[in-house]
């Protein structure tokens, strides 16, 4: 009996070793004949990229972006997430110019926090904007406005969006990489991507005018047309009771447009200095949320 057992083990070991050798040989041959050349620089460049696979550059992720860099289809500056040093390093490695692409950030077309925008009902249910918007458009009186349940904050991979105390998302221009996740997730489609040079901004999406807009939200665009009249011709148009800025004429934009806005719906975003409203816009001093109307 013992004799038979030990030989069984011996056979098994021999068989498995032989099998292993044959398969290893097959792999070695396959490696030799099926080998594909990949530019070694792709790996090196990818090392220098932030590996977030955010898609802000327009490609599916960092590896395809590295491939596009080698081909020369894009410049290192197209990666909005990496630091300027990393871009320079990539440019040096590939012997190209790092390029100069203007920084793009996400912007919210709503300023209706809980202290200025009224709620028509109280929402109970799944704690996301998408869920709330399916229930009769959400609790806000303004059906176009921000619901403030922070889907954008949750989805942002770069912690660029934080909710302020009035339940309104605030985008950090430094941290935002313009990946577009917030644009996609917002059920009210309030986010859009804009170059930082677009300083004139309509922070409202309400399509009603006059008292109807203002009764729902104190900072709504009432379509009074003052901004359109004060600006150079064609820069601002009123479409569907909402001021719309034609950014192809962005060079003409100036804070003049905001000066006479009664609600402060049109603002001048002045980088570090923050949001500048017109002098005639009403002051919002309330800090608490509005009661249910």
């Amino acid at each position: 009996m013992e004799q038979a057992d030990s030989s069984l083990i011996l056979y098994a070991v021999m068989f498995m070793s032989a099998l292993g050798l044959v398969l290893a040989g097959a792999l070695a041959i396959a490696n030799r004949f099926l080998w594909v050349y990949e530019d070694p620089r792709i790996g090196e460049v990818e090392e220098l990229l932030p590996a977030t696979n955010c898609g802000a550059c327009g490609t599916a992720g960092c590896h395809p972006f590295a491939e596009a860099l080698i081909k020369g289809d894009v410049v290192p500056a197209n990666c909005t997430v990496s630091s300027s040093e990393a871009r320079e390093e990539i440019a040096g490695l590939l012997g190209v110019d790092a390029g100069d692409v203007e920084k793009v950030v996400a912007r919210l077309a709503c300023a209706g926090g809980n202290h200025v925008a009224s709620n028509r009902s109280h929402y109970e249910g799944l704690d996301t904007c998408q869920a709330a918007s399916i229930v009769a458009g959400g609790p806000k009186s303004c059906v176009w406005g921000c619901l403030g349940l922070a889907d954008c904050e949750d989805v942002c991979d770069f912690d660029a969006i934080t909710m302020d105390r009035n339940g309104l998302p605030v985008v950090s221009e430094d941290l935002c990489t313009a990946c577009g996740d917030c644009v996609e997730v917002c059920p009210k489609n309030l986010f859009s991507l804009h170059p930082v040079s677009h300083k004139l901004w309509v922070a409202c999406a309400n399509l009603q005018n006059d008292e109807l807009a203002e009764s729902a939200c104190e900072v709504a665009c009432t379509a009074c047309e003052r901004c359109a009249v004060d600006s150079p011709d064609g820069l601002i148009k009123i479409e569907n009771h909402l001021a719309v800025i034609d950014y192809s004429q962005n060079a003409l934009a100036s804070p003049v447009a905001t000066e006479r806005c009664p609600t402060g719906a049109i603002v001048w975003l002045d980088g570090k200095a923050g949001i500048r409203k017109g002098r005639e816009s009403k002051r919002i001093i309330r800090k608490k949320s509005l009661p249910l109307s």
């Binding site: 028509r120 009902s121 109280h122 929402y123 109970e124 249910g125 799944l126 996301t128 998408q130 869920a131 918007s133 399916i134 229930v135 009769a136 458009g137 959400g138 609790p139 009186s141 059906v143 059920p187 399509l207 009603q208 249910l292």
Partner: protein
């Protein structure tokens, strides 16, 4: 088991048995409702293209006069429910959420309930296409809730080889609280049978089966008594079970036929129509009038006079609740039934053609229910409840991770018709249907982009 068949009433598998709550309103006859000061007629009350307004601000209209026409084949006209003056066409809140365009009509105080506008047709000699056009002219849509234009339903999809053999008339009314169809079957029996005859003619079906849940035997007897011997119409009681009134479930119960996923009932030769729709059709067609009012169940906590009311379309909910003596402050108001209805977020939302009920729930009851959500314990009760044989448990977990595409590719999300059985039975209180509605909305948006 075959010998037991005569004793077992056929039904679909799975489903749930919620408390019916119908006692408050089922025995109350339908009452007429007064006119509000202002009617709000949304142009997009039907599925398909919104109606095209043909009135201007300041124009006077009489009760029953068309104020908007159908803009396409899948569209219906709108008629003024009262005599008054057009105040304008403005954005008004809807139950679905976004504000959409609506015709506002200020009602004259002297407006009578008499319909002052009609277009009579010699119905008995009309060919089928003209009959379908006449149905479209009435502005009829499915009154059960979907608001799908009736004439479109009765027309076969072009290029299809189906042959319609059966018209299924849906009198199940499986939603708790709602009793509109029940009352209509009892009070408008003649209209209903007449409507079924028109529908048989329009669909060219050979027979009609009226399916009624067995908790409404009085309606079964009343309808059966009104059928003439030479009518190819039968009445069949089906077990009371939710969602018996879903068209695929009712076809399974009455005919034993399975409608393939994502296909219309027409693919198995069936057209389903609601009793309320056909009763209204049977009333309107011979008179040549348009759909200007509908029967609505108004019930729930804090309502002094619950019941079934014949309400002019466009009546704001605020006015409706005042008239039935609603007392109480914060409350959840559901438009439709509690299982598939929508929460109203504004009292300015008007009654639409597809709204079958208004249900008020008091706030305490809601808060308790929405309180806590626990993790899925994989008990599979939702799997056993789902009438479409889906797996809500797995889908719910994917939804929590926002894996909406996988829900579709692996678990057939689109087959879900949001009946809510899964959420109803879930012991962990997981808002499964809510997840699925988000997922479906997101997938639809992605498909559009």
């Amino acid at each position: 088991m075959g010998f037991l068949k005569p004793f077992l009433r056929a039904s679909f598998r799975h489903g749930i048995h919620p408390d019916p709550h119908k006692g408050d309103t089922a025995s109350r006859p339908i009452q007429r409702f007064p006119f509000p000061d202002r009617l709000v007629l949304h142009l997009d009350q039907n599925i398909g293209k919104p109606s095209l307004p043909i009135v201007k601000k300041g124009q006077e209209v009489v009760r029953g006069e068309p104020v908007a026409v159908a803009d396409d084949f899948v569209s219906v006209p709108l008629h003024s429910p009262a005599t008054g003056i057009v105040r304008g066409i403005e954005l008004m809140p809807t139950a679905r959420g976004p504000k959409t365009r609506a015709i506002l009509i200020d009602v004259y105080h002297g407006s009578t309930q008499e319909v002052l506008y009609s277009v009579k047709r010699p119905l008995h000699i009309l060919p089928r296409t003209d009959l379908l056009r006449a149905i479209q002219e009435t502005g009829m849509v499915g009154l059960g809730g979907a608001a799908f234009p009736t004439h479109v339903k009765m027309t076969l999809p072009p290029g299809q080889e189906y042959e319609i053999h059966t018209l299924v008339v849906n009198g199940a009314e499986c939603e708790p609280f709602l009793t509109t169809d029940h009352r209509v079957m009892l009070e408008q029996t003649e209209d209903l049978i007449r409507g079924v005859r028109y529908a048989l003619e329009a669909t060219e079906a050979k027979q009609a089966i009226i399916g009624i849940e067995d908790n409404k035997m009085d309606a079964v007897h009343a309808v059966a008594a009104a059928i003439e011997p030479d009518d190819p119409i039968t009445v069949q009681a089906v077990p009371a079970k939710y969602p018996q009134g879903a068209e695929k479930m009712l076809i399974r119960s009455l005919l034993g036929l399975e409608v393939p996923p994502r296909a219309l009932p027409a693919s198995v030769g069936v057209v389903v129509s609601n009793v309320g729709t056909l009763a209204q059709l049977g009333y309107l067609l011979p008179r040549g009038e348009g759909l200007i009012e509908r029967v609505i169940t108004v019930t729930g906590a804090g309502i002094k006079r619950p019941g079934n009311y014949r309400v002019p379309i466009g009546t704001p909910i605020r006015f409706l609740l005042e008239e039935v003596g609603f007392e109480g402050e914060a409350a959840e108001i559901i438009l439709g039934g509690p299982m598939m209805g929508m929460s109203a977020s504004s009292l300015d939302t008007p009654v639409t053609k597809g709204m079958s009920g208004i249900l008020v729930l008091n706030e305490k009851a809601i808060e308790q229910e929405a309180e806590n959500i626990y993790p899925c314990i994989k008990c599979a009760r939702c799997v056993q409840a789902c009438p479409m044989y889906l797996n809500p448990s797995e889908m719910g977990q994917l939804a929590a991770k926002r894996e909406y595409e996988q829900m579709e590719s692996r678990f057939h999300l689109t087959d879900c018709f949001e009946c809510g059985c899964c959420s109803y039975v879930c012991p962990s209180n997981i808002p499964l249907v809510q997840y699925f509605r988000i997922a479906k909305a997101m997938n639809r948006e992605k498909a559009k982009a």
